[in-house]
């Protein structure tokens, strides 16, 4: 677990970089030394490019050019996001040898913020799954138990942060793919509102649901990275009354979940009133949208070279191909109804809280468990917020059986600081 960046915050690193106690080149060296190949977090390490970027960052820092809190900080990027000159492998044999020509928009934002891109991290094949063990690159392993799933699809990004190889990583999240591995690996993962971080240059899974997000050791570091990337000023929550400042939290009770996981997270919000929300209906809506959009993107590959997919990916795509068109359209109509219901909730509360996952990380290679097939079960509590395009944050919330558990906060679009503030209070509470 103990890579160099374990326990070091972006604030710590920034202080050291500015005081001269650390250099970007030095931090990069620590990152590279911290890589544990057995965990399989990285699929590409860009020694040369990263060293040049670190050298450049050090020169800028020395000459007084300040690019903000990510300046000189080593960052990892999920392998469905294009970084110019590096392979983008998508975790798939289909993209063997494929090299990106230009940076994805989110990578441009990262570079503008002065970050040093260390390399590309393993992804569940085509980001189409939450387990992280289905990839031409093999399973990414959970640092808390190497025989267990990292979660996915931003598997390597979560593990690179959780094992202290980097302090920050970019991921993508279509049904939970930032928050799921964050929860399983005991770190923080943040999915902004739909559309805030541009998805250009990111291989699509389901364009109506795709988000770019960040993974870091703490919610506070997610907040710093989010603001550094987007240039969004810190939103100040309306100081209307005490309840707003303390955060009015509603608890969303999962219908089926590991009771120990639920109890652990629920204990953090003893006073939050429970509000009903049909997360299973929202998952059905998610599924109809993702099925149709994902298959549309893969149709030619499935027809022409089905054998290049991992078997589970192919099976899921073939199933997805059969979803009817009117069900897709109906899903958006139903989404609008849920959007109205949740907007009503978010008029009365600042935050919704629930576990990120129904369970702790299952064993690598398992396709079914107590909640049925893992593929749908893994997104049960996360995908609703992709359907609704709302900002959602997963933060560490203790352990069950020695494995990390995540608490998930959701709020209205534009209310991101409420999430980070609440997570800060929670961190103070839980230590």
């Amino acid at each position: 677990m103990g890579g160099f960046f374990t326990g070091r915050t972006l604030a710590d690193l920034g202080r050291d970089l500015r005081s001269g106690d650390a250099s970007a080149a030095g931090l990069l060296a620590h990152a590279l030394e911290s890589v544990d190949p057995e965990l399989n977090a990285f699929v590409t390490l860009d020694h040369e490019g990263a060293e040049a970027a670190a050298e450049h960052a050090d020169k800028e820092l020395a000459s007084g050019v300040g690019r903000g809190p990510l300046h000189g900080v080593p960052v990892a990027v999920k392998d469905i996001i294009d970084v110019a000159g590096l392979p983008t492998g998508m975790g798939s044999a289909h993209f063997d040898g494929h090299v990106a020509e230009t940076d994805a928009a989110c990578v441009t934002l990262l570079r503008n913020a002065g970050a040093v891109i260390v390399g590309k991290t393993g992804t569940h094949e085509f980001a189409y799954g939450g387990s992280g063990d289905v990839s031409v690159n093999g399973p990414v392993r959970n640092p808390h138990d190497r025989e267990r799933m990292s979660g996915g699809s931003s598997s390597g990004s979560a593990v690179a942060v959780a094992a202290g190889m980097v302090p920050l990583a970019l991921g993508t999240d279509t049904g939970g793919s930032v928050r799921i591995p964050a929860a399983f690996c005991g770190i923080a993962g943040f999915k902004p509102p739909y559309g805030v971080i541009p998805t250009g240059g990111v291989f699509p899974l389901s364009p109506s649901l795709d988000h770019v997000g960040v993974l870091a050791g703490s919610a506070d570091d997610c907040r710093i990275a989010y603001h550094a990337l987007t240039g969004l000023a810190e939103a100040v929550p309306p100081p209307a009354d005490e309840s707003v400042r303390t955060g009015r939290v509603a608890w969303i009770e999962p219908e089926a979940a590991d009771p120990e996981v639920v109890r652990t997270v629920r204990a953090l919000f003893p006073d939050a009133p429970a509000e009903p929300l049909d997360l299973f209906e929202l998952r059905r809506i998610f599924r109809a949208i993702q099925d149709c959009e994902a298959y549309e993107i893969h149709a030619e590959r499935v027809a022409e070279a089905p054998e290049r997919y991992q078997p589970l990916t192919l099976e899921r795509l073939e199933q997805a191909s059969r979803t009817l068109g009117w069900r897709y359209i109906r899903a958006f109509r139903e989404r609008d109804e849920f959007a109205g219901q949740v907007a009503g909730l978010l008029d009365r509360y600042d935050l919704l809280a629930l576990p990120t996952m129904m369970m702790t990380a299952p064993p690598i290679g398992e396709t079914e468990g107590p909640f049925g097939r893992w593929a749908p079960a893994l997104v049960s509590l996360t995908c609703a917020w992709n359907v609704l395009g709302l900002p959602a944050l997963s933060v560490p919330a203790g352990t069950v059986g020695g494995l990390p558990v995540g608490a998930q906060f959701v709020t209205r679009r534009g209310g991101e600081s409420l999430l980070f503030d609440a997570a800060g209070r929670l961190a103070a509470l839980t230590g």
Copy 2:
């Protein structure tokens, strides 16, 4: 054929109304007298409401209130468009006894323009077909040959105008439903660019393709009605050079069509260069979009009371239900590609010209002909412009075997006056 309004233009009527040679009440009486029940154009005549509206219009006109060229003019409205207090029957047993509570937005525009709504006109069931002979109200008959289809789905609106019962009617057009019956019945029919006339209060067929349009004796009356309804100022085409003023026309050759029909329309544009455009691909795109959207709207009715549909409508809906979701999404991607191709054409030309229909009106009740099933064949040359959302106008272009043939003009969004100007030149040419 010879109802009162045959050969009378909106300009004629306006002149007579303003000079006192005619009154709105008198025109309404002429409209009601001109109704030929055998043609089955109207499903509802609103004697009382229309008389009150005519009386009000006459009072306004007498007191110097002028609402423009539709003031005091009798107009018919397709029976999928809500008129407050009147039944909206959709041509279907499903809506037996259903009375609209409020006016559709386009009806509000009509009333604001001072028009007198005479009644509701027969529609192909749920506007889901181009033949006009599938309806709980029975077939609407073509005034040129009563054993032949009127065309649809705005069947009654076209026949009411073609037989001189009214000078103007509202229709809707999802794949050609204004232009098809206009062409078959020898009148003008105009479909504006997508979204220009609001569709609120109109029963949807396929929301991505649905347009409200107008039917009248001439293109000029369509123009007058369009501007009166929308309040759009007459767009002045850029006077850049002579070619723009005379209209640069490209000919789009239909791949399969009655050669006599093609020859008749082509003869009007002897100098127009032929440009390729895959109208059959565009029809496939149309079909994928309409199938999914139409079935989504009807799914519960099909499940709960299939027997209330006309057999052909039910058969088409059941077929539509099976279109796959990814095909729906792909259709929009393909649409974007065609939009680029046609935008390129409309950079080089002001207008595209082609026949409105592949054939003249088939016999009532026939479901198949020389071009296969009538349902797809009827929209072959019209539906492309719904897919692309471009303004399209059908105008009379002679006869083949004694039956009317229509010429269709298409232009870029905002170029509507180019259409009307070209139709004016054509009318001068053909008499």
